[in-house]
């Protein structure tokens, strides 16, 4: 099963004015695989995720999700495809004007319009249980801490049981303990729901827990690829600089 390609990125390029952020990138992600994308700030990691989900069009190249070229899909076809994809935003992106219950019900009602209110409530409660935040069900996002927001956002993104998860900096701004908790939560959910995932992160703690494979974006290209140990143990001065606590002259 692991050789089924869920995401295929073929020669994708993207630039903003004179700044090239992705230059002819190609990669594949297979079913139940967890790919971590590393890179310095402003190297196009989040842009790559937004291109995969269709929030941003590439300048050239193609994105295939389960064999479907997203640039050739109509809006309704793309929306149908998106129902199988979860996206965890860097800033959580919880709807300010809705309670936690409403935040979680919202994608559920849209994906399964025939679901009854009691079924929705049960699903919301069971998903909150997965992230250990059942007590927060009637709270507003403004009443939650950063870590709680991330957990709720994670719950919202998995509530429709997606086959593919995209994580944009899932642990940014969190303390090391919460980072570990969130990362463990991600890996447990993935094992439980057999999801494929792509996670963009700077965070080595998170990457070490969740990554099956990692790539490193540098100068708008995939500069390094391998498992996490290969990347962190590399003698390349750039990677040493990135992963170690000390500055290594290049």
């Amino acid at each position: 099963m692991a050789d089924i390609r869920v995401v295929e990125i073929k020669n994708v390029s993207k630039r903003f004015d004179d700044l090239i952020v992705l230059d002819n990138i190609s990669l594949e992600v297979h079913r139940a695989e967890n790919l971590v994308v590393f890179g310095r700030s402003g190297q196009g990691k989040s842009v790559l995720l937004k291109i995969i989900i269709g929030l941003m069009p590439p300048d050239s190249g193609n994105i295939l999700i389960k064999g479907q070229n997203i640039s050739e899909l109509t809006v309704s076809e793309l929306n149908r495809l998106r129902k199988n994809i979860g996206f965890l935003f860097q800033g959580s992106a919880l709807y300010d004007s809705m309670t936690v219950r409403e935040n979680l019900s919202f994608p559920l009602k849209r994906t399964y319009p025939d679901m009854s209110q009691s079924e929705i409530t049960n699903k919301v409660v069971s998903t909150l249980d997965l992230v250990s935040l059942e007590d927060a069900i009637d709270k507003m996002p403004s009443e939650l801490s950063g870590g709680m927001k991330k957990r709720i956002a994670l719950a919202r993104s998995i509530i429709t049981d997606p086959e593919l998860m995209l994580y944009d900096e899932p642990t940014t701004g969190l303390d090391p303990i919460t980072t570990k908790e969130i990362s463990e939560l991600i890996i447990n959910l993935q094992k439980r729901l057999n999801m494929t995932s792509i996670a963009v992160t700077h965070d080595l703690i998170c990457a070490e827990i969740i990554a099956d494979r990692a790539i490193f974006l540098k100068d708008a290209k995939v500069a390094y690829e391998g498992n996490i140990k290969e990347l962190t143990g590399s003698n390349d001065p750039f990677l040493k600089n990135f992963f170690s606590h000390e500055f290594v002259p290049q």
């Binding site: 989900i53 929030l55 996206f87 992106a93 849209r110």
Partner: protein
Amino acid sequence: MNLPKLKQSRRLTYTDYLYNFFATITGLTIFNWQFIKQAFIPPYEISEIKKHMDELGVKTFGIVSITGLIIGLVLAMQSQPVLQRFGATDFLPGMVALSVVRELGPVITALIFAGRVSSGIGAELGSMRVTEQIDAMEVSAVNPFKYLVVTRIIATTMILPVLSVYVIIIAIFGGYIAVIITENMNIYYYIDSVLRSVEFGDFIPGVAKTFVFGYIVGLVGCYKGFTAEGGTEGVGRASTTSVVLSSLLILIFDMILVKISLWIWPTLG
């Protein structure tokens, strides 16, 4: 939907301002066309429209009540000495009513509504845009334009005429308060004078144009909020420019609609 991007800088040249002016007009036109296309496609999000109408009505009820009362009071107080000079104080109720019904009620309500609602919509959607909530909606397979924009524009278009009629009634009542302070006028006589002065042709154009004003308030607020960028500064800019642009458009369209109404009902002139 590809909307032209405005040039954002602390030091804009005259050419940049000119570019932004035309980019805004183009953007609003595209946004307007998108609304027309999407408003008739299901789902219609009726519950969201009702929710927005309810919120907008409650939000502006207090301020338009005070405004309406003051318009009527001031108008009557200002006009009374002048009419007295010509011995025409009997015309005061009719004059207050006609001014309020034909022009002051709809336009001032629309301007107050623009200040209160357009800025609110601009800030709310702008904040949702910069915090990626709109993107989150899109990846949840929800059409954010339909859910956030279409519902708000319909709500503002429907609720402003209701508020305007309410303001007209309150303003006429305000006029009566001003009259009884100085004159001993019976309320029945006042109401009778008002009803005799205001014809159907006076009432309809005044209220009809508030549908257009409501549409402008919703459209501009949503456009500015939906296209906001640049963090909190962008949200502030969206909020401020929503009020300025919608107020300006209300006055421009008022001029055009008055001309059209005089063409349809020549007796109004």
